[in-house]
């Protein structure tokens, strides 16, 4: 587990203990007792004709199990969107029943309009050129207790689902059914800023499952359930039922909004700046987890779990809000995934510090790529995690500084983040100071991007000049992902970035890269 902040708190340490106690159900165990009663109820409803089997799906995780999906029917007419799903094992025992139907729903299901009349009514209220597709289906709209003809209309590239009242011919509801178009929603992030949410419209709900980007990009809401988090991280299995959802695509869970949107923004940064297609450059799934633990755990951290290939965001504590609320935090964690699929720096000692620094550098690059530069909340700067705290005071409440690493200290260890190789932390805490010694490479990046002097060596660096930050991002990206190996040390990082600078730009830039590392005492 690669976290953003040193001193991993007790909340995270609980997770392995939960794993042992909360493995998912195995086929050799008995189903819960209440499931049998629900199964009997389903069978009774099937006999009455209230339910009819619509689809059977084999369970790939537990061979022998299957999931039977039932449509709710009234007088033989399907109730739109109302289903129950029964999970059965090979012996026909019920393991679970999910979904909800209104058993008391009753209405006259004889339509006053024919299907043709309904189609004409729909076309009459639609733009010129609309075409009806397929045969209209008579359905019941449960919420309104209304009988309606449901049909699809194609208009150019659009696809609309239209409901025509089967008695009056009025259009009672219509929506775009083209998933990649209709599923763009809005939401307010942790700090109230509006963002777009790329979601999937499915089963009458909107899921935080991005269908617009080339890779699967999904955000899971584990509902403050530590057991569930343990299962997910222990097995690497992500049940679609845990995908964060919203009823109207106007998202109001700020932690979900930011985790989902910022993961997409980071994917976009890597694609547009570095031509990279996600974590493994082959569009591996990007998974984010929010609300992983009960609030009382005060989980104020974020992490990337390479086993589950997932990013995990705590809900914060008295001083900080949800940890998905900062773009650089999200980009930092996603970059750990990139590292896992490239140079895979060992998460200890110097390679661990370089691993952390690479995440910080790419995170800062993503922040400047997506946000305007400035020193207020939600603006790009050289602090890490400055948008987490309720009180915006980056010099005190951020996590790290690239411009002045020494601003942030670890009192328990009596050390501050070093701004020079000679001051590196050599103890064993924090995996050998991975979050501490990262300051050395972080300031090297800063000096390349912006120029300036190192406070310890006093050496001045001119920097890469115009477009310096973008050049520095490319140099670090190429140097680290192409040339570093898992046990790389700071000297290796210097050599790798020098080589990348020569390849990408030339000797003048390489000289600045060398000067920056020298100012940090890395020769």
């Amino acid at each position: 587990m690669r976290s953003l902040r040193r001193g991993v708190g007790p909340a995270l340490l609980l997770v392995p203990a939960l794993l042992a106690a909360d493995r998912p159900e195995r086929p050799d165990r008995d189903p819960p007792g209440e499931a049998a009663a629900l199964g009997a109820r389903v069978e009774a409803l099937v006999r009455r004709g209230t339910l009819s089997a619509a689809r059977v799906q084999e369970d790939l995780d537990f061979p022998g199990r299957r999931h039977v999906r039932f449509d709710h029917r009234v007088g033989g007419v399907r109730v739109f969107g109302a289903q129950l799903v029964q999970q059965l094992d090979a012996d026909g025992r019920t393991w679970s029943v999910s979904g909800a139907i209104d058993e008391g729903l009753a209405l006259d299901v004889v339509p006053q309009l024919t299907a043709d009349q309904a189609e004409r009514a729909a076309l009459g209220e639609s733009p010129r050129g609309a075409i009806a597709l397929g045969e209209p289906e008579l359905v019941v709209r449960a919420g309104e207790r209304r009988l309606a003809w449901m049909l699809w209309l194609r208009l150019d590239l659009g696809l609309e689902r239209v409901f025509v009242d089967a008695r009056t011919g009025a259009i009672v509801h219509r929506y775009s059914d083209l998933r990649t178009d209709s599923a763009v929603g809005l939401g307010a992030g942790v700090w109230g800023d509006q963002k777009k949410i790329s979601a999937d419209a499915s089963g009458g709900q909107y899921l935080a499952d991005d269908k617009l980007r080339p890779c699967p990009l999904t955000t899971y809401d584990l509902r403050y359930n530590a057991s569930l988090t343990g299962i997910v991280l222990g097995t690497g299995r992500f049940d679609p039922a845990w995908i964060a959802q919203d009823a109207d695509n106007d998202w109001n869970d700020a932690a979900v909004v930011d985790a989902h949107a910022y993961a997409g923004w980071t994917y976009d940064y890597f694609f547009r700046r570095h031509g990279r297609r996600g974590i493994d450059d082959q569009n591996l799934a990007v998974r984010s987890i929010v609300h992983p633990l009960p609030l009382l755990f005060q989980f104020a951290n974020a992490a990337y779990d390479p086993f589950a290939n997932a990013m995990l965001y705590g809900d914060g504590d008295a001083e900080s809000g949800p940890w998905s609320g900062a773009l650089d935090v999200v980009a930092h964690e996603l970059t750990h995934g990139v590292t896992s699929y490239t140079w895979d720096g060992i998460y200890q000692g110097e390679p661990g510090a370089l691993n952390e620094a690479f995440s910080d550098i790419m995170a800062t690059g993503a922040e400047f790529f997506q946000q305007a530069a400035g020193s207020a909340r939600l603006l790009a700067d050289y602090f890490l995690g400055e948008d987490l705290a309720y009180r915006f005071d980056p010099a005190r409440t951020a996590v790290r500084s690239m411009e002045n690493p020494g601003l942030f200290c670890t009192p328990q260890l009596g050390v501050c983040d070093p701004d020079h190789y000679s001051r590196r932390y050599l103890g064993s805490a924090d995996n050998g100071g991975v979050h501490i010694n990262s300051g050395i490479a972080n300031q090297a990046f800063y000096l390349m991007a912006e120029g300036g002097a190192n406070r310890t060596s006093g050496q001045r660096v001119n920097g890469l000049g115009a477009g310096g930050r973008e050049k520095a991002e490319r140099i670090f990206y190429r140097g680290f992902t192409a040339y570093l190996t898992p046990s790389a040390r700071f000297r290796d990082a210097r050599i790798a970035t020098l080589r990348a600078a020569r390849e990408l730009y030339g000797e003048a830039e390489a000289a600045q890269v060398a000067a920056a590392w020298s100012a940090m005492g890395v020769e």
Partner: protein
């Protein structure tokens, strides 16, 4: 309707050839019925806005719609209350198929406030107009050849297909989009009062039958509402027609 009118006109025009003998001077009669056919001789154009929701934001377009020349048919009832003066009520129908040049701002699917501009065109946009004219007529020249000037108020009802939405082809990262198609609303209509004026030259081909040509210019400004606001049409235009008049 235009086809039927052409046949009537052709038959009427053929009549003098079959009967080359000049007819008698026209008898002054009180009433006449006129049917006419011709072209709406001035193109009509307007700029119409539209908005709709796309990608959780507002998409906008401006369509410069142009309708070229088109057929027009007219029927009129006139009454001559003095040798040189009369009144007439005329009803004119015209129909044209137009096209539109469109520029649209389409919201980015992933980011707020990053619209992409697409441009394109579409055709087959219908425009229909029904006009009622109430005119005062003055005939400075009467006899076998008759010249008339007329003017008066008009009531014009315009019905137009307005471009209301465009679709685009796009691919990740969606920073650019290409115009794919445009769709028009069901026809939107509006009416307004305006004016008209014109002249007609007619010659008698039988004792109660005249043939002639007419030019009528009319102007009215019906305002069509659209999802993005409204557009005021410079409706009317110049209608040049040939007519057959039956006097009784």
């Amino acid at each position: 309707m235009t086809g039927a009118l052409s046949i009537v006109l052709a038959a009427a025009l053929a009549a003098p050839a079959a009967k080359p003998k000049p007819t008698a001077a026209p008898k002054t009669t009180a009433f006449a019925v006129t049917i006419a056919g011709g072209i709406a001789a001035l193109p009509l154009d307007w700029q119409a806005p539209a908005i709709w929701t796309l990608n959780a934001e507002t998409a906008r377009l401006e369509a410069l719609q142009e309708t070229p020349l088109g057929p027009v048919a007219e029927a009129a009832l006139s009454h001559r209350f003095a040798r040189r003066f009369g009144v007439a009520a005329a009803f004119a129908w015209s129909r044209r198929d137009g096209r539109a040049e469109i520029e649209a701002q389409l919201p980015h699917p992933l980011y707020l406030n990053r619209p992409r501009t697409v441009t394109g065109s579409t055709d087959g946009l219908g425009y229909r107009q029904i006009a009622s004219h109430l005119d005062f007529e003055w005939r400075p020249v009467t006899g076998r050849l008759e010249l008339a000037f007329f003017a008066g108020p008009s009531f014009v009802r315009a019905e137009a297909d307005l471009v209301e939405r465009v679709t685009a082809s796009e691919a990740y990262p969606y920073d650019e989009a290409a115009f794919a198609s445009a769709s028009a609303s069901p026809s939107r209509s509006a009416a307004s009062v305006g004016w008209n004026a014109g002249a007609a030259l007619a010659g008698a081909v039988a004792s109660h039958v005249d043939l002639g040509v007419q030019a009528r210019y009319s102007r009215a400004k019906p305002e069509l509402t659209t999802p993005g606001g409204s557009v005021v049409l410079e409706a009317g235009g110049l209608d040049v027609t040939a007519f057959l008049r039956l006097r009784f």
